[in-house]
């Protein structure tokens, strides 16, 4: 059979502050976005995926980019207006202690990156916005932002934190053991929590569809806090392989695959992240296309796909209609352990995007029947309210 990839030659790859921990745990390390990252630990992708859905999975996601956008006058309105010139979300009305998902959009209405934006409730941080961007795009994002922003705000990439994520139904129990205030933190909220004696500006969010927390750990304490969290018997270390199958089942986009510079947020099914005030008011790059697509519908749409049978359909697979005409392609696909079979996402002409539409997937040259499916493939279990 074809040779699978060997262990990463990691001489030129960057290391996160937790790299040695992964190696000691016996992780299989692979290159990702210029970093040497754990794709799986000895538990394996399937067991890591299931563990996260049943208990609590701990992920090193510190390869991602953290940056602050700071208003010179210390006012939220100034920072918000600056960011709103680049993203279609309502940042002005983002309340203190809250986080929002949005995208950096280009002048054609395509997506440069997707990101999380948080506003601290700490009055000492008035005028600051905390951004988390994808590892593979951080350089592009910062260059883009710096080319568009003016002197009333400063973009400050910050490398003092090691971002980790704890995801799964037991995550709250693990974190609350350290700080019971975790129970008060709602989904998409942000607040300082005391973990292993350190104040961590936690957010209750993640990339798995499960309840969980994202924790920026100060670099000098990251390994100790990682060890402390992992010492809880409900917690296992989880690699990027399971991170991908978890987010795929949750129907979440992966930049460079399900969204890119050609896809608008409307085509991608992300209109929900463009709040009414901005849908109506515009004022972000590509607003003309985005507003037109909101009004008239986009030409193509991101859909969930459920292949019949057991064969997965991978990225790049051509999607056909019943007559054998190409109507789109798969952008992410694989096996969904919780769904119990193959799952995929892709784009098709909007005329074929309704759930239940019968389509065919060209796998190894043969059309395989599939159906357009609602997402997520595994129910979201966020703690709202």
């Amino acid at each position: 059979m074809a040779e699978t990839s060997a262990v990463a030659e990691d001489l030129e790859l960057k290391h996160t502050p937790l790299h040695a921990r992964h190696v000691d745990l016996g992780a299989k390390m692979v290159p990702f976005a210029g970093y040497s990252m754990p794709v799986q630990y000895p538990l394996g992708v399937l067991k890591e995926h299931n563990w996260t859905r049943e208990k609590a999975g701990l992920f090193d996601v510190s390869h991602m980019g953290i940056a602050y956008l700071r208003a010179a006058d210390g006012k939220h309105e100034t920072a918000a207006a600056a960011l709103e010139s680049l993203v279609p979300a309502d940042i002005l009305n983002l309340k203190p202690g809250r986080q929002r998902y949005t995208q950096l959009v280009n002048d054609s209405g395509g997506i440069i990156d997707d990101l999380m934006v948080a506003r601290s409730a700490d009055p000492d941080h008035a005028g600051w916005l905390y951004l988390v961007v994808n590892a593979s795009r951080k350089d592009v994002d910062y260059a883009h932002m710096n080319s568009r922003l003016s002197g009333d705000v400063e973009l400050m990439p910050f490398d003092g934190f090691t971002l980790v994520a704890l995801q799964g139904p037991d995550a709250i129990n693990v974190i609350a053991k350290h700080d019971p205030a975790a129970h008060e933190l709602p989904f998409m909220g942000t607040a300082p929590l005391k973990i292993a004696g350190h104040d961590i500006h936690a957010t209750r969010s993640g990339y798995t569809g499960e309840d969980g927390f994202e924790l920026p750990l100060p670099n000098e304490h990251a390994a100790a806090i990682w060890d402390e969290l992992l010492s809880d018997e409900r917690v296992e270390a989880i690699g990027l392989g399971a991170r991908d199958s978890l987010r795929l089942e949750a129907g979440l986009c992966l930049y460079g695959h399900d969204i890119d510079e050609t896809t608008s947020p409307v085509e991608a099914g992300l209109t929900w992240s463009i709040q009414k005030r901005r849908r109506e008011g515009g004022g972000f790059p590509g607003a003309e296309r985005i507003q037109r697509e909101i009004t008239n519908g986009p030409a193509r749409k991101r859909i969930g796909i459920k292949p019949e049978g057991r064969a997965p359909a991978r990225e790049g697979t051509i999607i056909q209609d019943a007559g054998g005409n190409q109507i789109g392609s798969v952008t992410s696909g694989g096996f969904g352990p919780t769904a119990g079979g193959p799952v995929a996402m892709g784009y098709v002409a909007s005329s074929h995007a309704a759930a239940g539409t019968e389509i065919a997937l060209l796998v190894r040259g043969k059309p395989m029947p599939a159906t357009v499916a609602e997402m997520p493939f595994a129910p979201h279990r966020y703690k709202r309210g």
Binding site: M1, A2, E3, T4, A6, K28, V39, Q40, G44, V45, L46, K47, H49, G241, A242, D244, S245, R310, A311, P312, R314, G334, F335, P337, P342, R364
Partner: protein
Amino acid sequence: MSQEYYSEDHEYIRVEGDIATIGITNHAQEQLGDVVYAEVPEVGRKVSVGEAAAVVESVKAASEVYAPVSGEVTEANSELDGNPALVNEDAEGAAWFFKVRLADKSELNKLMSREQYDKFVAENS
């Protein structure tokens, strides 16, 4: 009495008379990780050496299983469709993929012995 041969593509070939049982090696399944799908060829199909004959997929990627010898497929392992994890559990035993009636026994000369294969794996790791 069966004879065992190995390919550089990490297949094993167990020959008894003119029937060869073919699967992937334990080393191959370890490299693959959790197997989520396996597809076997149809009985009666004629395969040529080097041709993609079967498929084995892990969570992340699909891999071809090449025919290490030419011949007609006489049997295909129906266990694998419903239980792909068997490939991880018993790659060189119960998780064989297919059997062929050998078309040309001289093709076996191009394959490796167990000792040569183990050395090949060690050198390429």
